[in-house]
C-alpha cells in the first residue's frame, strides 16, 4: 500500500486517504477540435511501465487534487506537486533523470 505526500496539506498519508484520478497533464480539446485531437484527449491515456505522471486527490484529507510522479514498476515515488501546472517542476524532472536516465513521458523527458 503506497504512501504519498500531499503537497497541499503536507500529510504523509497511506493510500486509503487518497484517490487515484488517472493521467496527469491532460490537455483538453473542446468544441472545434479535430476528431483526432479529441479522440486522443478522451481515450488515449498512457499507462507505461516505468515513469508515470498521475493525478491524485487527497479525498480523506484536505480534499485537494495534486500530481504524483512515480514508477509503476517499482512503485518508487519521485515526487508530488501542485495540480495547478502544465508540466512537472524541473526539480522533479531532474530527480527522475538521476534515477532513470533517458526517461521520457509524452512530451516530457
Amino acid at each position: 500500500m503506497l504512501i504519498l505526500d500531499c503537497p497541499c496539506c503536507g500529510v504523509r498519508g497511506e493510500e486509503t486517504e487518497f484517490h487515484s484520478g488517472g493521467e496527469a497533464h491532460l490537455k483538453r480539446f473542446g468544441p472545434g477540435s479535430s476528431d483526432d485531437d479529441f479522440h486522443g484527449y478522451l481515450f488515449e491515456k498512457v499507462n507505461p511501465k516505468g515513469v508515470h505522471f498521475e493525478r491524485w486527490r487527497h479525498v480523506n484529507g484536505c480534499g485537494k487534487w495534486f500530481h504524483a510522479a512515480r514508477c509503476t514498476m517499482t512503485l518508487e515515488v519521485f515526487g508530488t506537486y501542485s495540480a495547478q501546472t502544465l508540466e512537472p517542476p524541473q526539480e522533479i524532472k531532474d530527480k527522475i533523470t538521476a534515477k532513470r536516465p533517458g526517461w521520457s513521458w509524452r512530451e516530457f523527458s
Binding site: 497541499c8 498519508g13 480523506n60 484536505c62 485537494k64
Partner: protein
C-alpha cells in the same frame, strides 16, 4: 427556534476504558478564501478572536476556534446559536472579496473521547491511519483523515481528550465505532 434543534444523537454517551460522548450542536462555518489575505485574517479574528491557524493546526479561545482544513479553507467553530451573527460578521468583513462562507453546523456531528492520555490515543489509533504517538500528534494539531470507512477530522483539546468531527448522517456509525474501540479489555498498552 434553537430549542427545537436536535443533534444527530442527542448527546449519547458510552463508557469503556475511555468515555465517548456526542457533544450536541456545535456552530460551524466553512470559510473559503485567500487565507493569506489581510481581510480573511481580520474576519477570522473578528469571528473567533483567533489568528488564521498554520497548516494542519487549530487555534482555540473563549470566543471560538478555527481549524485549518485545506490551503483555501478554514472551519470556524462558535456557539450554535451564534452562527447567524458570526456569518453576518464574516460577510461584512469580507465584503468585496472572493470568498465563500456557509453554515455547516447541521451537517456535522462532533464527538469527544476522554480518559487517560494513553487510552484516548489508542482509541483513535484503532480507527485512523494516523500516528497517534505522543510527539507525532499533539494538542493544537488538526488532522483530516479516514476513520474506518468515513472521512473525519480529529484534534486534541488537551492531553486526555480527542475530539472528532464527522458528517451528521454517519453519526451513529461513528458512535458505534468508538463504542467498540473503547470496549474494556481492548487496551493496547502502547502509549502508556
Amino acid at each position: 427556534m434553537s430549542n427545537a434543534a436536535v443533534s444527530a444523537l442527542n448527546g449519547a454517551t458510552v463508557q469503556g476504558f475511555a468515555r465517548v460522548e456526542e457533544m450536541g450542536l456545535q456552530g460551524m462555518i466553512t470559510l473559503r478564501g485567500d487565507l493569506a489575505s489581510a481581510k480573511v485574517k481580520n474576519a477570522v479574528k473578528e469571528a473567533t478572536g483567533q489568528d488564521v491557524p498554520a497548516l494542519r493546526s487549530l487555534n482555540t479561545g473563549d470566543k471560538g476556534a478555527v481549524a485549518w482544513m485545506s490551503p483555501d479553507e478554514l472551519l470556524i467553530m462558535v456557539d450554535y446559536a451564534g452562527v447567524t451573527d458570526t456569518l453576518a460578521l464574516i460577510e461584512a468583513a469580507l465584503s468585496g472579496e472572493h470568498f465563500l462562507a456557509v453554515n455547516v453546523s447541521d451537517a456535522r456531528a462532533m464527538f469527544r473521547v476522554s480518559g487517560s492520555a494513553a487510552g484516548v490515543r489508542e482509541t483513535l489509533a484503532k480507527l485512523c491511519p494516523v500516528d497517534m504517538t505522543p510527539g507525532a500528534f499533539e494538542p493544537g494539531m488538526f488532522r483530516r483523515t479516514r476513520m474506518a470507512q468515513i472521512p473525519a477530522a480529529i484534534w486534541m483539546p488537551d492531553a486526555e481528550t480527542v475530539q472528532i468531527v464527522c458528517f451528521r448522517s454517519v453519526a451513529e456509525y461513528t458512535f458505534n465505532l468508538l463504542r467498540d474501540a473503547v470496549a474494556e479489555g481492548g487496551e493496547v498498552g502502547l502509549f502508556s
